[in-house]
Symmetry: C2
Subunit: 230 residues, 2 copies
């Protein structure tokens, strides 16, 4: 059994759930509120961030990037022509460039602000940064996401999937970020039709199902969140 320490609105955790879904693996999910800085979790991973995956046999793999590389190295070949990291070095560069784009750039410009301000700050004690959302950051995120939607549309307009002709880590990285933002109702779907059609294709994959069933106490996703014809 594979165990995944995650949070439902951590996009990097969502990326790993999508990744495991593509490998046909159902992990045991343990929800971790990283702001609680739980001792047992910090022993597992001193960075104290989700996601952390514990492999059968006990290898601890923290972080979206290392987890994706680890699965490609240990199980990638078994996916055959559906391998999520292509064979040739130049195509691998493109997949990893886009993973960085979504895991880091999109995260810091959009998702992190929305999730922190609109959700985490509700549950965090005041001395750890909890309180009312800073609406200036929420507005900045809502502006920034428009550029990203156009970039996704540009990529999906010229290729079958974001990094090329095959579904790859890049599509899962982008979809993971977008699905968090969509949960909060902040994706401007009208911004780019090509981006929307690409997302509809990713969203209809079986790997996506467990994400669409996510609920948080006291927080419901928007109506279109689980709708495959949004």
């Amino acid at each position: 059994m594979i165990t995944l320490y995650h949070h439902p609105l951590c996009p990097h955790s969502r990326f790993v759930r999508l990744l495991l879904g593509e490998y046909g693996i159902t992990p045991e999910l343990i929800e971790e509120k990283t702001y609680e800085r739980r001792r047992e979790f910090l022993i597992l991973d001193p960075a104290g961030q989700t996601p952390v995956l514990v492999e059968q046999g006990g290898i601890v793999v923290p972080g979206a990037g290392p987890i994706a590389e680890y699965f490609d190295e240990t199980r990638g070949l078994a996916l055959g022509r559906h391998r999520l990291l292509p064979e040739d070095p130049a195509s691998r560069v493109e997949v990893r460039r886009l993973c960085d784009w979504f895991h880091q750039k999109f995260f810091h410009e959009v998702t992190n602000w929305l999730v922190t301000e609109k959700v985490y700050k509700r549950y965090m004690p005041r001395e750890r940064g909890g309180g009312a959302p800073e609406m200036e950051l929420v507005r900045a995120a809502r502006t920034n996401i428009r550029t990203h939607m156009r970039y996704i549309g540009y990529l999906a307009g010229g290729r079958k999937w974001l990094a090329g002709e095959q579904l790859s880590h890049a599509d899962l990285a982008a979809a993971a970020q977008l699905s968090c933002v969509d949960f909060l109702g902040d994706v401007p779907w009208e911004e780019n039709e090509t981006a929307k059609l690409w997302y509809a294709r990713v969203k209809s994959r079986p790997a996506f199902r467990s994400l669409l069933a996510d609920r948080l106490p006291g927080l419901s996703p928007t109506a279109v969140y689980a709708d495959l014809d949004f």
Copy 2:
């Protein structure tokens, strides 16, 4: 010829310079001020961040992580037992975990604040965020680095190098961050003797030499910066 778009105080660029040094490669260095958002640079890499490496033959490889993986995939075996990413999956996880630690956690908690507040803001026009440093952020960075020094000391105390018995990407990632902070005189070398001894070993490698010769207009490094017996 390999070309590297970099900035002298961008730690991720420094990581790539150390990496290339270990491969025995001297790149053509082009200094890029990313805050100028130069059109030709944005065409090369739409994320607009250093480092960006252009391989002989024209492949563009942006970002410290993708560059390190690309070199391991295309030239790693040629390093033989000095390969910077070990062979077995569990050891690779450890190297990549620590690369994320330094490239991201150390960067966001320490280096980025120091370099942005003390250096970049001097050169940036006011409408792009230039101006006087926010001393609160500088002080936060100076506090945060102490935890990192102790963590480096803890790692180097139990292993020959940070991720194990071999020099790896992890050592270069940590040294790249520290060397930027050291340029600005903000490394508390008295905090941890084991960390200091580890850094002295990395600093005396031939790959480090070009970094120690770095100068910026109107900004001199501190006296210990280029001293191998600091």
